[in-house]
Amino acid sequence: MTMHSVARHAIPAAVLLASTALLLAGCSGDEPDPGSEIGPNPKLPEQSQYLIPPMHVAKVVGWKDGETPKVASGLKIQALASGLKHPRSVYSLPNGDILAVESVAPPEASAKRPKDLIMGFVQSLATGGSGGGNEASNRITLLRDADGDGVAEVHDVFLDHLNSPFGVVLVGNDLYVANTDAIVRYPYVPGETKITDPGIVLTELPGGPIDHHWTKSLTANEDGSLLYVGVGSNSNITENGIQAEKDRAAIWEVDRQTGRHRIYASGLRNPNGLSIEPQTKALWTVVNERDELGPNLVPDYMTSVKDGAFYGWPYSYYGQNVDPRVMPQRPDMVAKAIAPDYALSSHVAPLGMAFSKGTSLPQDYASGAFVGEHGSWNRNAFNGYKVVFVPFNGGKPDGSPKDVVTGFLDDQEQARGRPVGVALDKSGALLVADDVGNTVWRVSAQ
């Protein structure tokens, strides 16, 4: 046979491969606006499972000198502290000191399938890669702005050698830090800038070897007798096996005296930003819902958390919308699932929430919650990458979210920063932890 006939036979193959490529490309694009899925009654589209899921993460470029995020009118923003190492959450102490929790994700579990290798790479892009700003931290830095100019003069390592810490809460003089594998109690002395005490483990939490959603958000109830800790799921949708989900996708209630714990509410895929609503004293959380069911599924949400309630994960979402990826299915659990209170739109990745009680921001922000949206990866058009304010009335969301801090993405849609945890400082200004911008931002009235 001649080379000519080789070419002749190669053509159908080329056509076949080209049409394959076209089909693959055809699976992306065409994403409707996610605006219809915000609020108490989101309109949920049909599920669509991908051949190749979109993995679109903004490349991290960081902030250049003098660059800041944009804020809504009537507000101003400045860097309370920069040069931090991957600050994930902020906590305001009663004396005005700020704790910036700097943490790196725990080591990846061994790859269980080829996808894990690819996802690991994409995740590393999302958090700034192995390059600058993501060196080992796992510590808490104390920031102090004694002269009140909005810039912290004191940066001291307050607690070091922690294990992927995230949540912090102070009750009396007991400071609780939620590492990824345990809640640890430290004695706190107001004014001190360093804790040398090794701390005491109050309660162990589900950590590795698989530790997929590792951020453990922490808060205390009104009288300080109980702690609430968010324990995220160990997978997107049980692909690491249902055994890996034991005691996860839940909010635990922990007795502060004894460390005894129980599941307070479950079916919450990745609950963060645990906060007590100031009017009703109810526990609220923001939750990252499941991926890979479409660009507009499933909306992440904020909700009050009812004792003993089941919010669906993994079997269903928003009440009784069954997820076909879970086997065996559990109609009994689906029947119990309740819908959350307020949708924030799909894939925005809310990781921080703070109620606005005591804020010194303008009147528009007097009653409601600030939510830090870390930003999407599982849709082609970016969603999130901002801090929004959800107005509340009578202890419930009332109205549309308002953009408060934006501009984390630049004109080329590269990430200068990404917001995570939020808090109010003693003066009532809003603080935002920016994990890839390595900054804590302070938003105050103009």
Binding site: M1, H9, A13, L51, P53, K112, P114, R325
Partner: protein, 147 residues
Amino acid sequence: MTYSTSGIPIRRYRASLRAIPLHFAAACFTGALITDIAYSQTAEMTWANFSAWLLTAGLLLGGLAVLAGLVDLARGRFRFAGGAALLYVLGNIAVFVVSLFNAFIHSRDAWTSVVPTGLALSVVAFVLMILVAVCGSITERRIAGGY
């Protein structure tokens, strides 16, 4: 009348280069069918993970087999000897394309990474491989001078 008679040809057996990666790829895709069936019966994620690895390995080996096949062609160890040879080539390409789709389906999470589409594609690839094997042996015989 006289006829010219051909002598009995003496041939050195010339093994094809493509056979090795092709057989390993076929073993991988067959393995993926078996582990897909196991997953569909147990919902135990380990089986689905096996399938994903087997498909990936099969595709890598399949890619190697394409290169080896081109070398065979250049060195005269493969000829388009009739329809069977054409079916053999197209069939191999079809197995590769089906398994490529299947690998993407298997990259979904949990149950629907296998049932129903992934399992169905594994069956399709398996049936195609049997047809390809038959076409391949016919082609080998022709190239070796048989009929």
